[in-house]
């Protein structure tokens, strides 16, 4: 039973990481129709900026240091996302395939630059000692870092919900995901919403990047690729444009993957991929997505 809980919570912890990547991807596609292959780069930018800050903050990393690294990493990634949107994406307005292609190019360039500066090997990320302790949950000893991942993901989900429900820009985003043209027809410059969504997506991915670096025992430009693929899988299964859908799907996939890996090593990736194919063939709009024309 306690193994069950351990695998379950570890799975949810992993799902939390997937959600941090998927949330932004989902909104960006849902609102703008852009398949953002550079989303993994946001993760890397956040991870490396967070790493740089954490190493500057002294030999012992406290929780405050770590949280600061997360926030600064997130902001850096958010700004990078905004920059990319302003310089490249807006100029390709409504050329959706070209927008997706340009993000592929950005992903390559960022990967090359970071790989060139830092190398592709894993570099230990300064971690607070508390992360290495274990917490007793129902008899299972859960590594403390999982709790941080889950807490961060839940915080992001709540913040996202609040933004969408209570702010004007959130209203615009919700309406825009449903009918972008009509929002323009109401005299609202929907491009402001685009920039906001890109920034938020970048920020979430950047924060995720810092956490992923801890989970993966090190930061490296190569990790972004795997999480990008999983991000897409989560977004598609959860439903494009639906952040709660991504949350649900992310948890599901995290848990399934961990359980599959427990029984047969390496089975996890395979099972998830088959799950994706299955969902797409049976219910193409995903769990909580709307049927798009």
């Amino acid at each position: 039973m306690d193994t069950f809980i351990l695998i379950g919570i570890t799975g949810i912890g992993l799902g939390a990481l997937y959600f941090l990547v998927a949330a932004g991807l989902s909104l960006i596609y849902g609102l703008m129709g852009v398949l953002n292959f550079a989303h993994g780069s946001f993760l890397s930018v956040g991870a490396f900026v967070g790493y740089w800050l954490a190493t500057r903050l002294g030999p012992e990393t406290t929780m405050t240091d770590f949280i600061l690294a997360m926030i600064v990493g997130g902001l850096a990634a958010g700004l990078f996302a905004l920059l990319m949107e302003q310089l490249l994406i807006t100029r390709l307005y409504d050329r959706h395939i070209d927008q997706a292609l340009v993000t592929v190019g950005v992903a390559l360039v960022v990967g090359a630059v970071l790989g060139g500066w830092f190398g592709n090997d894993l570099i230990m990320f300064p971690t607070p000692l508390w992360f290495l302790t274990a917490i007793n949950v129902g008899g299972a000893m859960i590594p403390a870092d999982r709790v941080i991942y889950i807490a961060t993901a839940v915080l992001l989900l709540i913040a996202n919900w609040a933004l969408l429900k209570f702010t004007r820009i959130g209203l615009i985003i919700r309406a825009g995901v449903e009918n972008r043209n009509m929002v323009n027809a109401l005299g609202i410059n929907v491009r402001l919403a685009f920039s906001t969504v890109f920034f938020i997506g970048g920020f979430a991915a950047g924060v995720g990047g810092v956490l992923v670096s801890v989970y993966s025992n090190g930061v490296s430009p190569l990790i972004a690729g795997t999480y990008l693929i999983y991000g897409f899988i989560v977004v598609v299964i959860g439903g494009m444009g639906s952040v709660p859908g991504s949350f649900l799907a992310a948890m599901l996939i995290g848990v399934i993957r961990q359980f599959a890996n427990y029984y047969v090593t390496g089975l996890g990736d395979f099972v998830v991929v088959i799950l994706l194919a299955g969902v797409l063939l049976i219910r193409p709009q995903g769990l909580l997505g709307k049927v798009r024309a």
């Binding site: 070209d98 390559l108 090359a112 790989g115 060139g116 693929i229 990736d269 088959i274 194919a277 797409l280």
Partner: protein
């Protein structure tokens, strides 16, 4: 009209030069090093063309094309190593296997379109990558792949001084691929592919079964990729999981866009250029003069993805037709200037 009247004869001349060049050891192409590089470049050029048939001609954005390439590599390698059949029969079986796999995956995936289709093909491609990487059934050699057992393939492909035979095999494979794709795209089926890319509804209104045509394009493309997988096995001497990675399909996408998605020779050029540039850049960064550049510039430049990514962004933003598109645009301008 847009084709320069000397382009066909010149192309024939180029092919002849490429074919006989390895015989002259004094020339650059007489050296095994360059022969190997060019052989690999030819394979990538041909592979890019198979992807172009799918994406540039039929408008199907697949992210799992590497699957069929890898199938060709692995099936032929396993069959040859285990001495199940002779090498040429192994090649044929591998090609058929790729085709059958493409038919199965295609039948399932083509029930979706657009982004969903891209994601489904990505899923199947990744599944393939996972299978070869994790050494299921102890067949696929896991992370390190399988080295081809040289005893079971003809002598003329073995040894440094026989590199020119590998070169010629790759060149032959490129020519075969080009001829097949040319024949398919010029045929009436090919016209339907192009119509599908532009407006699927109009094709359906004509009473044509769009599913069948898409599947045809998918299977031809996958089968050719399988053949090229076998050729790559000979050229590389081993089967490795990197042939099944999604980064392969992304590279093909880059090649096709850089070369120009709508033209055949553009895709081939894109593939050859990309492959050549990656290999050459890797060599360049080893040189003396390079190490004197400060690390923050030199580091990224050493990664081929940097230059390719920048070129790619530039082309997508400002020259969406790629190199061949730019060529035809200039040609059009020259022609209209002549007539006015």
């Amino acid at each position: 009209m847009l084709r320069w009247k000397y382009s066909r004869p010149l192309l024939a001349l180029l092919l002849i030069v490429l074919a006989i060049a390895p015989l002259f050891t004094a020339l650059p192409l007489g050296m095994p090093g360059l022969q190997q590089t060019m052989a690999v470049a030819f394979i990538w050029g041909a592979l890019a063309l198979t992807y172009d048939l799918l994406f540039g001609f039929t408008g199907l954005l697949s992210f799992g094309h590497a699957l069929y390439f890898a199938t060709g590599v692995y099936v032929s390698c396993i069959l040859i190593n285990k001495e199940i059949v002779s090498w040429w029969l192994a090649a044929i079986i591998a090609i058929i296997a790729s085709g059958v796999l493409a038919a199965l995956v295609g039948a399932a995936s083509l029930r979706t379109t657009g982004i969903t289709f891209a994601m489904v093909t990505l899923a199947f491609g990744e599944a393939g990558h996972v299978i070869v990487g994790r050494n299921f059934f102890n067949l696929t050699g896991g992370e390190n792949g399988i080295a081809l057992n040289a005893d079971f393939i003809p002598q003329f492909w073995i040894g440094v001084f026989n590199t020119k035979y590998i070169y010629w095999t790759a060149l032959l494979a490129l020519i075969i691929t080009y001829v097949v794709v040319w024949w398919v795209t010029e045929s009436s089926a090919g016209k339907v592919f192009a119509a599908l890319r532009d407006n699927e509804q109009r094709v359906q209104v004509l009473g044509l079964n769009t599913q069948r045509f898409k599947l045809l394009s998918f299977v031809i493309s996958g089968t050719l990729a399988g053949m090229l997988g076998f050729v790559m096995l000979i050229a590389a001497g081993s089967a490795a999981p990197r042939f099944a990675e999604s980064s392969v399909t992304i590279a093909l996408l880059l090649m096709v866009v850089i070369g120009g998605a709508v033209t055949r020779w553009g895709a081939v050029l894109g593939g050859i250029f990309y492959s050549f540039a990656s290999t050459r850049m890797a060599d360049l960064t080893q040189q003396e003069s390079f190490t004197s550049i400060p690390h923050w510039i030199g580091g990224p430049i050493a990664e081929p993805a940097l230059l390719l990514g920048i070129i790619f962004i530039f082309i997508v933003m400002f020259a969406p037709g790629g190199l061949s598109g730019a060529y035809y645009r200039l040609r059009l301008r020259a022609l209209t200037r002549k007539s006015s």
